[in-house]
């Protein structure tokens, strides 16, 4: 006797977990009366059990390490970010440097207003500071975004930022004379200044 095809479909519905109660009833009744289908069902059950039994396999112990080794090189920024994340002190230090240099470099870029640190005994004309003949300026002079012409005497250091210094033959500077026209010089100058100020505040 040929069994209805439906029966095998019901068996597979059973394995898929979506056999309805009526179907289950129909299958049960058929299996009770048909040895061939009962054997078929039993074989399927065994097959599934074997499959599930065989399921367990684990990856080889060094697998994860090998995968990570074979990975393409990661972007540099990511490595740096992780590195900084792991070393907070270094991060703080590099942040400090980044901010310091960054702000200094950008303040170099903006050619600000003309300024001069001394206004007694000097003449200011067209962004040029003139120390007239016969005059003596006591203390340091810092000129920003302008030049200085020294015909008299400066009793201290002269620093010119973004500008030129002109010395008359009679002019005299007792301290150091410095022209700053490069960004690195500018940064260096600032660091020196800050360092000096820090030293002074300690003293």
């Amino acid at each position: 006797m040929e069994c209805p095809k439906e029966i095998v479909l019901l068996m597979h519905s059973y394995f898929d977990g979506d056999l309805q109660p009526e179907g289950e009833q129909q299958l049960k009744e058929h299996l009770r009366s048909c040895a061939a289908c009962a054997a078929h069902f039993h074989e399927l059950k065994k097959t599934v059990a074997f499959l599930q039994y065989a399921a367990h396999v684990a990856a080889p112990p060094s697998f994860a390490a090998k995968v990570m080794e074979a990975m393409p090189k990661e972007r540099k920024t990511a490595r740096l970010r992780r590195f900084l994340h792991r070393h907070p002190l270094l991060t703080a230090a590099s942040l400090f440097f980044a901010l310091t240099f960054g702000s200094l470099a950008s303040s170099w870029g903006e050619r600000g207003a003309f300024s001069v640190s001394a206004d007694e005994h000097v003449i200011i004309r067209d962004h040029t500071v003139i120390v007239p003949k016969g005059e003596t300026v006591k203390g340091d002079i810092v000129v920003r975004n302008g030049s200085i012409r020294i015909e008299g005497t400066v009793d201290g250091d002269v620093t010119v930022i973004h500008g030129k210094k002109y010395m008359a033959s009679a002019g005299q500077v007792t301290g150091e004379v410095e022209e700053i026209n490069q960004v690195f010089e500018w940064i260096w100058y600032n660091i020196k200044e800050r360092f000096n100020r820090a030293l002074q505040s300690i003293e």
């Binding site: 597979h12 039993h42 065994k46 097959t47 074997f50 399921a55 990856a59 090998k66």
Partner: protein
């Protein structure tokens, strides 16, 4: 489960920003599943290791294309399954075991091959049983093999399998049905 999802999401975000170490956690989490899938599909530990490794690297390279609507494991399974199917296709260019044979109601030539002789004593040793099961799986055409492996080795739901293979659930059921019947011919009498 919620914390697990959150953990995975965080890792994926970090990876998408380029943090490779975050990926190590995901490899650890899924290595057994993916290796097992590859092993069952390919039937050879060495090839399985290579394939699983390649799957993880592919997933990493294409992490930007991962859609978080999908479970990460589903996406990973999809990559690994496609990879192993590709390898199987390249392996046997001359034998078309999964060609359907006319007039046999969807059964393939493979299902009609006589089943391999296996004595009951052979099945007693668990290792031998494992091997017997593996050999039976390897004789399955790839389209049945993938659903059987995903269902019974990886213990996935029909819905997940349908997502992994990009097939309707109905098709997954049909393939499972045929896969089980083919395996029954090989294993049912043990």
């Amino acid at each position: 489960m919620y914390f697990m999802d959150l953990f995975i999401k965080k890792r994926i975000k970090a990876i998408q920003k380029g943090d490779q170490n975050a990926y190590a956690d995901l490899v650890d989490l899924y290595k057994d599943k993916i290796y097992r899938l590859c092993y069952r599909m390919l039937g050879n530990p060495h090839e399985a290791e290579d394939a699983a490794q390649e799957a993880f690297i592919r997933a990493y390279i294409h992490i930007d294309t991962y859609n978080p609507e999908m479970k990460f494991s589903t996406w990973l399974y999809r990559i690994a399954t496609n990879l192993t199917i590709d390898k199987l296709r390249k392996r046997k260019p001359d034998v078309y075991l999964d060609e359907e044979v006319g007039g046999t109601d969807g059964l393939t030539m493979q299902a009609q091959l006589p089943s391999r002789e296996a004595s009951p004593e052979e099945a007693v040793e668990s290792l031998e049983l494992q091997e017997t099961v593996q050999q039976a799986i390897e004789q399955l055409p790839e389209k049945y093999r993938s659903v059987i492996v995903l269902k019974y080795m990886e213990d996935l739901s029909l819905q997940e399998i349908s997502e992994i293979l990009g097939l309707p659930v109905g098709t997954v059921k049909t393939r499972l049905h045929r896969g089980r019947e083919a395996l029954r011919r090989q294993l049912g009498h043990l």
